[in-house]
């Protein structure tokens, strides 16, 4: 059974339609790159998966229809979201951010600190006082504390210094190799995506236009649909 299935997914913001038919399927432990130019519906697809906006079409996690569920129940089913823009709880400390999200499972304060040692060092520091990169690590750590089956990283390295980006990509590779967690990645770095992803799905104008193994993604296709 697929972990995540999207078939003909459509969604709108008021009267403005954003998704016109997104198809995507992911197996357990698979890393999928969701690609496309700006404004093509990648983040909207993520919002639809997490039930932050209403959508139509098939939307299933482990066979269960997600349409009738509120956002928090989708998370409880095992979807961990790292939203665009490093959205931590600024008034809480690093430790408190992690505890607030914690659910029983393999991911604990210690395992998160092992993945991101900087978070362990700054456990008592308020999230608002962290650097952008550290806040991003915290957002990932917080999503991991929910012990998800599927981790969604929406532009996790956007606007970060190259060294921090490397740290985050290294953590993503570690997650793939050591935990076998399914990961849905949205990022602009084609090079990094191709190194870590098993498959790629490309959106254009809110619709899936290409989906295959990452190894099948040729420079022509990426130049045509992604622009790089």
């Amino acid at each position: 059974m697929n972990l995540l299935t999207l078939q003909g997914l459509t969604a709108s913001y008021g009267s403005s339609q954003a998704l016109f038919g997104v198809d995507l399927s992911m197996a357990e432990g698979e890393v999928t790159a969701l690609m496309g130019r700006n404004g093509m519906g990648k983040s909207t697809t993520v919002k639809a998966i997490c039930r932050m906006i209403n959508a139509q079409g098939e939307l299933r996690l482990l066979g269960q229809d997600l349409h009738s569920l509120p956002s928090h129940k989708v998370s409880r089913l095992g979807v961990g979201l790292v939203p665009e823009g490093r959205r931590c709880f600024p008034d809480l400390t690093v430790r408190e951010n992690l505890i607030a999200a914690a659910r029983p499972g393999d991911w604990t304060l210690k395992t998160v600190a092992d993945l991101f040692p900087r978070l362990g060092e700054r456990a008592g520091q308020r999230a608002a006082s962290l650097s952008g990169g550290e806040q991003q690590m915290l957002a990932i750590g917080r999503a991991l504390m929910t012990n998800p089956r599927l981790l969604i990283l929406d532009e996790a390295t956007e606007g970060l210094a190259p060294l921090i980006r490397q740290e985050i990509w290294s953590a993503v590779r570690k997650l793939k190799q050591e935990t076998g967690m399914a990961i849905l990645l949205i990022d602009k770095s084609l090079r990094e995506l191709s190194l870590v992803s098993d498959q790629a799905v490309i959106l254009e104008r809110g619709k899936t236009v290409w989906a295959d193994r990452m190894t099948a993604l040729t420079p022509d296709i990426s130049a045509k649909f992604v622009g790089v």
Binding site: S71, H72, S75, R87, D91, A100, R103, R126, R142, M145
Partner: protein
């Protein structure tokens, strides 16, 4: 000079304990009653601080729970002292004068009412939440005004203070001891709750409900549970307040009292453990000392509140510790 918040908290609690003991030695029972009043108001404000300070919910109707606690005490004691039966249809009782039973009833009824009101109001936010909570409190206020059976507008006098096993509650210092122990217990629970995963999630809800949902928590449930706990604590304070005065009246539901509870918290420091306690002490001191000089003492309270809002956003505790936020 910036002071340590824990040290300030300890000094305030010790001061609150020492003052009545000193008053006992110099035979000033009124001072003991005054401090007891501050302790009870602090307890009510600690209850409100759970939703206001941690959850960021500005409930402008918390006097509702204070009044429910007061009337729970008043009604039970009234039936006990008049040897009449309180018939609720499904249950009848001759009332009681036993404090622990009265507290339990006050907290339970307050919690149930908080649950129902919370279910209806917590879907709103901002000014709508403020107005709806105010409206509920006013409904109870006008209901009790017309509730002739229990004194109506004139209120209900209780001729004897209720009993606590092993203590003579008519002795001011013994009644103070009961209230002080309850306040310390509730402060301990508040501190534990604030640092617990529930408290942290509630705090996170104040910052962003959407992000809280994204980590699998239901903001509505978090806020509702906090509202229920908060209502129960404020209800307990109401029962003690009614016992202190041996009198309950519709003013316990008044919007002025709801506003005063918010003012106490703002003066002391929103979301801080001892903020409501410091606020209550300042409030009762002003009420006593300035109230003796002029009946317009609220003007001075207003000036203090204005200064705190403009120049000390963290309240008195924030000013002393140099930390505006509630994080210690």
């Amino acid at each position: 000079m910036k002071l340590n918040e824990r040290a300030i908290n300890t000094v305030v609690l010790l001061g609150l304990l020492a003052l009545p003991l000193y008053a006992l030695v110099v035979d000033e029972p009124f001072t003991i009653t005054l401090v007891t009043r501050a302790v009870i108001l602090a307890l009510a404000a600690v209850g409100l601080n759970i939703v206001l300070g941690i959850g960021g919910l500005v409930s402008f109707g918390h006097a509702l729970f204070f009044g429910i606690g007061g009337y729970a005490m008043g009604i039970l004691a009234y039936h006990a002292q008049t040897y009449t039966t309180l018939n609720l249809g499904f249950f009848s009782t001759g009332g009681t004068k036993l404090m622990p039973v009265i507290w339990l009833v006050a907290m339970t009824v307050s919690a149930i009412v908080a649950y129902v009101i919370g279910k209806l109001t917590l879907r709103t936010s901002g000014v709508y939440f403020i107005m709806i909570t105010l409206a509920f409190a006013q409904m109870f206020y006008y209901f009790t005004i017309s509730w002739a059976q229990y004194g109506g507008e004139d209120g209900l006098s209780i001729y004897i203070r209720n009993d606590f096993p092993g203590l003579n509650t008519l002795v001011p210092i013994q009644f103070f001891a009961i209230c002080f122990v309850i306040l310390c217990s509730v402060l301990f629970l508040y501190a534990r709750l604030q640092a617990s995963p529930f408290g942290l999630a509630l705090n996170a809800t104040r910052q962003s409900a959407t992000r809280v949902e994204a980590v699998g928590l239901d903001p509505m449930k978090l806020k509702l549970l906090a509202f229920v706990i908060s209502g129960a604590v404020t209800g307990l304070a109401g029962a003690l307040f009614a016992d202190l005065n041996r009198f309950v009246s519709p003013t316990m539901f008044s919007w002025q009292l709801s506003g005063e509870l918010i003012v106490l918290i703002i003066i002391g420091g929103v979301g801080r453990l001892m903020g409501p306690v410091i606020g209550a002490c300042v409030f009762v001191a002003l009420e006593h000392f300035l109230g003796g000089l002029t009946s317009f003492w609220h003007i001075y309270l207003g000036v203090i509140l204005l200064c705190i809002v403009l120049f000390a956003r963290g309240g008195i505790l924030g000013l002393l510790t140099g930390k505006e936020g509630a994080h210690v």
